[in-house]
Amino acid sequence: MSSPLSSLYTELVIEHDKRPLHAGLREPFTSEVHHVNPTCGDEITLRLQLTDGRTRIEDVSYDAVGCAMSRASASIMADLLIGRTTAEVEPVQEHFEAAMRSRGRLAGDEELIGDGIALLGAAKFPARVKCVLMSWKAYQAALVEAQTLGA
């Protein structure tokens, strides 16, 4: 097997793909969004439950149809988000996106992005970057919706 491929399908990715964390759609939720990747038809429905004046992420639940990368990404993301404040999560998201879009130039800070580090192999495969980022885009949209709904 050529090495870039194993850098993509790491053990952690395979593990998250097979046994995704926090999967399924749960109640209650502050907002719900549905995102599609029109090039491949992948879909995610994501629910975000905020508490403490809409600053703390109490739950992220989702239903994701997609490739191993996109499913693993949703699982890793949910695990990173749950229990933190939206403010705490901001630098995580920024750093993760920057690393994913860096085409491999940014190594990624494990302190910040945790298991997300296992997804960075995809940064060298431009077509896969979208797969990985879809769940994060959905989170972002759900957050905007939750916060404007509350305003």
Binding site: S2, L5, C40, G66, C67, A68, M69, R128
Partner: protein, 425 residues
């Protein structure tokens, strides 16, 4: 038309495609099995375009100087060549567009132009029906949805049966006196299925409906003759038939084109212009607003020369043999389900399949690591994928330059992919 060569010498053909010697990384030669998305171009096509640009380039039609004359000859000569290639009775029936998608949009917009002087047969209005099929590429579906939305017409469709062919059981009730257009693909870009053109043309004629054929996937791969097919309008893409991007073709019967209102408007498609209104030129000029894809037309004509020199019968036979090989190979792999007819006799060389439990992106990724370039996703035929309960498929498509060894590598690659993911579990 050049006489086709007697034998099909794939190695000689490959020498015409410089890109085929490309390495994807130092150890991985490229195996390009995505001609269904866009074909590679032989040197002859690129050379024709470059030599036009280095010696005869000028604006066509509008100029009186000698360079304009040379450019116009090159452009109109290309039109004649393409007319000949598709069996069009006259080059005036060949309209150059930017791709097959524009050709189909042109028809849909022209039929919905709302110009009151257009004969009723060529006007889609509220209450009218447009019939498509469930296996259409988005290019031959969304423009009709939009036409229906704009006009208040109703879109109906012929379903696809479990055997991957059109289900014509209810054809008689789907085609009614209200049907104005039947638009369908000649050959599915996913299933490979070849549709029964004659049967649909007959049904359309029975009610005076127009037939619009999406031939983007068929014309490059088999003998193709618009006159024999009996349809009214045909759309083609240059880049799928060894020609350049940026050019497509709408063919239409002259007596229809002559009555159809224009779509894109601007220079070179007018008769008279004053500030308040304009009248329009005869076809094909009426449908070619602005500066057309000139060097691209020259390249496309060279592609027709190239295809004819190989022989369309021979090309079809070559690709059929490869398809058979691929189908047989994939049939032997557990967990692979072919989405399309199992017999090569009923289909073209676009072979789509599902790998149980594996998303096509992941399948494509492993194949790519082996240098095998196949397409993954819904291939712009989303409703068709839904019909078969899959989110996407992996598709290999075969071309004039594909070898039996490449097909073997592909089949082995699919087996390897399944092993690869199995080993990770």
């Amino acid at each position: 038309m050049s006489a086709p060569s007697r034998e099909f010498d794939v190695e000689a053909i490959r020498a015409d495609f410089p890109i085929l010697t490309r390495m994807l990384d130092p150890d991985t030669p490229m195996i390009y099995l995505d001609g269904g998305a866009t074909s590679q171009r032989p040197r002859q096509v690129i050379d024709a375009e470059v030599s036009y640009l280095y010696s005869d380039n000028a604006a066509v039609k509008r100029g009186a100087h000698r360079m304009a004359g040379l450019a116009t000859d090159a452009y109109e000569g290309a039109r004649e060549r393409i007319a000949e290639f598709i069996g069009a009775p006259s080059p005036d029936e060949v309209v150059f567009t930017k791709n097959a998608t524009e050709a189909l949009n042109l028809v849909a917009h022209s039929l919905g132009s709302g110009d009151a002087s257009t004969p009723p047969r060529l006007r889609v209005r509220e209450g009218d029906e447009i019939l498509v099929t469930e296996m259409e590429h988005h290019a031959n579906l969304v423009p009709w949805q939009e036409l229906a939305r704009r006009t208040g017409a109703t879109l109906r469709w012929i379903p696809v049966a479990d055997d991957f062919t059109l289900d014509l059981t209810d054809l008689d009730s789907l085609v009614t006196e209200r049907t104005k257009v039947i638009a369908f693909t000649h050959q599915s870009n996913v299933l490979g299925t070849l549709n029964p053109v004659g049967r649909l043309v007959e049904a359309a004629r029975g009610v005076g409906a127009l037939t619009v054929l999406d031939a983007a996937q068929s014309a490059p791969h088999m003998p193709f003759d618009v006159a024999e097919l009996g349809v009214d309008l045909v759309a083609l893409s240059g880049h799928k038939m060894l020609g350049p991007t940026g050019i497509g073709v709408l063919w239409g019967r002259y007596e229809l084109l002559e009555q159809m209102p224009p779509f894109l408007t601007g220079g070179s498609m007018i008769e008279l212009v004053d500030m308040e209104r304009s009248t329009f030129a005869e076809p094909p000029a009426r449908f070619e607003a602005g500066t057309p894809p000139i060097s691209q037309a020259v390249g496309l004509a060279a592609a027709c020369d190239y295809l004819d020199a190989l022989g369309m019968e021979q090309i079809a036979a070559h690709e059929k043999a490869l398809t058979q090989q691929a189908l047989a190979g994939l049939a032997g792999i557990d967990g692979v389900r072919i989405i399309g007819p199992a017999l090569s006799a009923e289909r073209s060389g676009a072979v789509s399949f599902d790998v149980a439990g594996r998303h096509p992106h992941d399948v494509g990724q492993v194949l790519d690591s082996l240098g095998i370039e196949v397409r993954v996703g819904h291939h712009c035929a989303w409703p068709l994928h839904r019909r078969f309960g899959v989110h996407g498929t992996t598709r290999a498509s075969f071309s004039v330059h594909t070898t039996a060894a490449e097909v073997d590598a592909f089949v082995d690659g699919v087996a390897h992919t399944i092993d690869f993911f199995g080993s990770l579990s």
